[in-house]
Structure formats: structure tokens, C-alpha cells
Symmetry: C2
Subunit: 386 residues, 2 copies
């Protein structure tokens, strides 16, 4: 049942391992684990305390995970390659049935897995392996060094998406923009933020996505950058800001659009024109070889030339994948040169407490010669109830 | 915009504070923060690194949170009672517009808030405040002691639900069982697990819920305790196990049902009768004054008397609220006596690798004299395609 994409991402990681100083990787960030195994733990989504790790070299993938993950993991790794901890009971004539209480803690299971599979040499770890676990690993026979740089290395590998990953990101982006369009088709004075949220969510779910964040805020609340929809009813003159995302098989979207109830006033029109021009300038210049900070500077300068000055932003975009924010961040000081296969969200939001907020955000895939938009809906200031 | 339920839960916490040795509470567990403020951070749902804290005494609630939460927080606390960290820009003639870079880290903002509001005496903290933050707090002038026992204390307070909380838990439970019923109404040989997941999710979303876990597994995969739906098609003879939950305004559900495609064989019928009897025994005996471990023992003994022996389980239920697992856990050694206002999920799952899995799980509210079921759908082994 291991899916093709999981095989492709694992093989992609392995193809890069030769060029690294790491003999083994020990990865605890759930999205890193998913990249090498295809396994996304249901319990890991629910419980903040859930811990998992993948131990990887050119030949082996071993997973350290709670016993309870042992059933679902059989779709992804051999039962013998799961080092379990904690108490849970499976029955049957299968090794997993004997897993309960094998180890009392994640750290104990991690050490046992490292010993059993002869993890040795230089070990690359990620940010999820804590200091005491690093120390414990470092004291094992045969382990020469525990190197935290593997997190940044793997994030660079993951920043170049494989075709199967782009397809999922595109599907997720389409569901987000379709959700916004569906909500706008029912938006009118008297309709609540919460009702619009429900329409966005329904559109995502109908298309096979899982809603993950559903920011639909109106009037003065549109200035609240990350806020949940309430029972507030739309009124004439309201800005309505959508910033929504879902996942499709673990791959995220993040799309922004803004609407106005009835007609915009001059200030609203001018400000929206400024932020839309900022995003448009990014969409026009994005291609391999451009740096993230050039994109950022262009966005800010264009918005300010449009009359929205000063335009203070900490970023104007970010990579997206199995995390909603991935490197590169489109920000000052980020010298990363864009490469084919990267997928970025570009955005130029503006939030003024007491007045309102507006944004436009789209996803693009870097191609060998330029970029391809993954989102296609109308990016203008949408008018509700005309 | 502060909602009535948030006021009720905050006041409930304060009504219990007098009977504690804590002068202030410093709470970092997101669900604890929500209990005293009503604020559930959108970013906190998305980013594992998101940190927040509420500083609470009889008179004040102060929130430490990223600047970016500052807009949405205005619905819940005065802007002056938000101590911000990090970089994000709001504009406007409002204090929040000056928040960027006020503090560089959560720990720095926490210390500043404690100083500014004169946090002193004996401080109760929860499990989200780490060792270095505890040490830093303990060294502040006027702070006599930092006491980790507040986490357990607050979890006990939260275990008794207010009427508004029960209403949300009931709404969430209904959406979960309605989702399962809707999926069963379309289930047939050839339909995939993934298609059934989509129906469950759509039902939840239509009713205002957010799908949170959607375990629909069939055939041998039904033994995988926490697994995502795949493209596997239902076949005659398959067990189909549903274990699904959503949230409604942050309150969870967790409901389980089992179906069989066409007719069950004798072993399947006998086993299902055994686990159903185990849950039924719990539902019959649950009332105030019964202990969690008595419920557990009764469930296990009843399943075993039904012929499923040994029945190895680490728990047969759990409290539920703004977390899917809350105290009390229905398990050996948990002497907690049940009280009116508790809401528990009761369950008797069984997983045999190579054969399949089955479960039945329902939610009940403890009343002054007994218990009231929050779920009402058919708990028998459901038959698909007859």
C-alpha cells in the first residue's frame, strides 16, 4: 500500500544523501518522517505529545513510533522496522501483537533502534530531536558525531517539489480558491462570517481536501490577521478578507482574496490597487535565479509606489508543501535563489486596526524558464451584492 | 465580541481559585488559555512552534502571544493586556500598531508581562511552561514559588463541563454519528475508504464542525487502530471500522461504529456481541460515584465473558472536551470518582492484525443522578449492501 509519491520522495532524499557528510539521518519532524516513509500519523495530528522518528540511510528506513501506530505503519514499513514504545494492544499472529511495553519512552525506543540497526558514523538530526536525546545518541558506540545541520539540508531538498507533490499542491490551491468563489457567490448583507466559513469548508471537503485554516473576517475584523469567523453579519461598506487553506494528502494551500460589500470608496480602491500591484509585480518577475529578497523588495516598493506608504511587512510570501510555511521565506535578507520545482505563495496583505484588512495571495510553481500559477480565480477587489 | 461561554469558563476557574494556594496562574497549554480567554489562535493550530500564555489571578487576565495574534486577541482581551513578541505589522491609531519587536522571544515577553502586572506570591504553572522559563520566573522579585501542580488542578476543574460546553460536545458528537450514518447509507462493495471519509467530512462541515480525525478502514486494514482512508474498495465480508471526530467551536467528538459488508460470519458476530456488551455494561453502570477503574474493569470482564478472551486494553474510555483525551481516563488504577458534569467517551475496540478490527464508542454526560447519552445512532454491527 506504499504510495508512489512516498517512494519518489524517499528515493529523492536518498539520491542526495551521497553528497552529504551524513551516514544516517534521524528525523523527528513529522513532515520529514512523511517525506521518507509516506506515513502521516493520525495520532500525531491530534496529540501535541506524540513523538516519532525515522532513521534513514542509503539502505534502510526504521521508524520509532508509539505501539498504537504499528497497524497503520504496516502500510509503510516492514513491521520489523518499527521500534515501538508505550502500551497498546494488537492481537493476531504478527510481531506487532507483542509490541506493548517494549520500551517505556520515545528516547528508549530511539536508542534501541539505533543499536539494533547499527546506526553509526556521522548522524544528521533535525530540530525535533531534543538536547537530551542528542546527548544519549552521541554516547552510543560507533556514533562519531551528531550534527544538527541535517534539518536545513533536508528542508532544502524538500523545497524542490517532485511532480506528484506539485499536483497535490495545485489540487489544494484550487480547492481553496474554489471555496472562496463559492462563498462569494452566496455573500450578501446579513450573511455571517461563520456562514461563509462553512461554504469554504464544504467546497474543500467535497473536493477531497481537509480544511486547515479558514480566516473569513469582515468590517473592522478584517484587520485581524488570523481570526476565526464569527456570527458578525456583513454590512454595506465592509471589507471581507479571505485567507484560507486546506490539505490534500498532507499538502497545503494558502490563498487570499478580498471583497467589499457593495461599492468601494476611493481610499479602499487605491489601497487595493497598491497591494494588487505589489503581488502582480512579484508574479511577473518570479523565475529561477531571482532571489527571495529581490521578490520581497519588489513587492514592498511596488505597494509603496501605489500610495500605501510605509508598507511594513516582515515577509511577502513563503514556500509551501507539507508545511504551510517552508523555506524560502520571501523576506529581507533571504538570499536564496529560486529554482525550478519550488512552489511559493506570494502575498501582499495590509492590516489597519479600526479600518480593515485586505490581501491577495496566490501559489506559483517555478518552472525551468519561469513560473506557472497554480491559482486562477479573479484577483481583483471582488464586489459583493451588486 | 467575547462570547458568553468564554466568560462562563473564566468565571468558573476564578470561582475555584480561592480554594487553591496559587496567587497567580501562568498557563501555556492552548486549551487552558482558551478556558480563561475564549481565544483559540489560528496560528497555534497550524504552527507547532507557536507559544502563548495566559497570566491569571482573581482580577486580571494577561495574554503573552505573538504580535500577529494581536488583532484577533482584541475580541478577547484589552489590547493593553497583550504582551507581544516577534515581528508583525498592524497599522492604525492603536497600541497594537506599535507591537512589532517589543520582545524577541516568548520567554522575554512572559517575564515582561509578569513584571508589568506584578505577578507575585505562589505561581501555579502548567506543563507547557518549560524548565528554563520556570527558573526565570522563579528568580523574579516577589515570586515566592513556581508550582507545577496547577496543571492537574486545572484539568480537574475543566473535567466538570458547564452547560454551554456540554451543548458543544453534544453538537460535535451528533455530527460524528450523523457522518457515519451518511457514509453507511452510500457504502457498498466497490466504494472506497476515501469516498466514505469524504462523506463523513462533508456531514461534519455542513453542520458547522471541523473534521479532525477520520479513520475509516476496511478489511484487514480495519485492524489498523489509527489509519487514514485509502483507495481500497469495500469487498464482501469486509469489516468497516469508523472512528471519527470533529470539533465545534473547539469542542471535540470521538465516535466509533463498525459495519460488515453483506453478512457477518459466526466469529465476527460473536466478537462484536462481546465488545458491544462491554460498552453496554459501561453505559448501564455509569453514574456519579462510580470510579473510572470500576468502569474499565466492568468493560474488560464483560467483553471476556462474551468470549473475546483475553481482552487486552490499556483504556476503555476517556474524558473529552477541548482536548480529545481529557481526565479521567477509564483505565486500571484511575480511582477518580465520576461527578455530574463530566463528559466521557466509552469504548471497547478490538484489533487483530490479519483479521480485522471493530469498535463501538459513544459519549455520555454525567447527570446528578445518572448519565445521559450524547449519541443516539444504532450501535449494532451495521450491515452494508443487504
Amino acid at each position: 500500500m506504499v504510495d508512489e509519491l512516498a517512494i519518489a520522495t524517499r528515493d529523492n532524499l536518498r539520491s542526495h544523501l551521497d553528497a552529504t557528510p551524513y551516514d544516517w539521518l534521524i528525523l523527528g519532524v513529522p513532515q520529514h518522517v512523511a517525506y521518507v516513509t509516506g506515513y502521516r500519523s493520525v495520532a500525531g495530528d491530534i496529540f501535541a505529545s506524540h513523538r516519532m522518528a525515522a532513521l534513514v540511510n542509503a539502505d534502510s528506513v526504521v521508524v520509532v513510533a508509539p505501539v498504537a501506530d504499528g497497524g497503520a505503519l504496516l502500510d509503510h514499513v516492514d513491521g520489523d522496522h518499527h521500534e515501538p514504545y508505550g502500551r497498546f494492544y494488537f492481537e493476531g499472529d504478527h510481531p506487532v501483537a507483542g509490541f506493548a511495553d517494549r520500551h517505556g519512552s520515545f528516547a528508549a525506543a530511539l536508542e534501541a533502534a539505533a543499536r539494533r540497526f547499527g546506526v553509526s558514523g556521522r548522524i544528521g538530526i533535525d530540530t525535533a530531536i531534543d538536547q537530551s536525546e542528542q546527548t544519549r545518541l552521541g554516547s552510543l558506540p560507533g556514533i562519531d558525531e551528531v550534527d544538527e545541520s541535517a534539518d536545513a539540508w533536508l528542508r532544502r531538498v524538500r523545497s524542490i517539489k517532485l511532480p506528484g507533490e506539485v499536483a497535490l499542491l495545485e489540487a489544494a490551491a484550487r480547492l481553496a480558491e474554489n471555496g472562496i468563489d463559492a462563498a462569494l457567490s452566496v455573500a450578501a448583507p446579513g450573511v455571517t462570517e461563520r456562514e461563509l466559513v462553512a461554504v469554504v469548508a464544504a467546497t474543500m471537503v467535497e473536493g477531497g481536501g481537509l480544511p486547515r485554516f479558514l480566516v473569513v473576517t469582515s468590517g473592522e475584523r478584517s484587520a485581524f490577521s488570523d481570526a476565526r469567523g464569527t456570527d458578525r453579519q456583513l454590512r454595506p461598506g465592509d471589507l471581507v478578507r479571505f485567507d484560507v487553506g486546506c490539505t490534500v494528502d498532507g499538502y497545503w494551500s494558502d490563498v487570499g482574496r478580498t471583497a467589499i460589500v457593495e461599492a468601494p470608496d476611493a481610499l479602499t480602491s487605491q489601497r487595493y490597487a497598491a497591494i494588487a500591484a505589489g503581488e502582480e509585480a512579484q508574479l511577473e518577475m518570479i523565475r529561477p535565479g531571482v532571489s527571495a529578497e529581490e521578490l520581497f523588495r519588489t513587492a514592498v516598493e511596488t505597494v509603496e509606489r501605489g500610495g500605501l506608504r510605509p508598507y511594513r511587512r516582515h515577509h511577502c510570501g513563503h514556500g509551501i508543501g507539507t508545511e504551510v510555511y517552508e523555506p524560502p521565506i520571501v523576506a529581507a535578507g533571504v538570499e536564496t535563489l529560486l529554482e525550478p520545482g519550488m512552489v511559493l505563495c506570494l502575498e501582499t496583505p495590509f492590516y489597519e486596526i479600526g479600518w480593515g484588512g485586505m490581501m491577495v495571495e496566490d501559489a506559483v510553481e517555478l518552472t525551468p524558464t519561469g513560473a506557472r500559477r497554480l491559482t486562477h480565480s479573479d484577483r481583483s477587489l471582488r464586489v459583493i451584492g451588486q
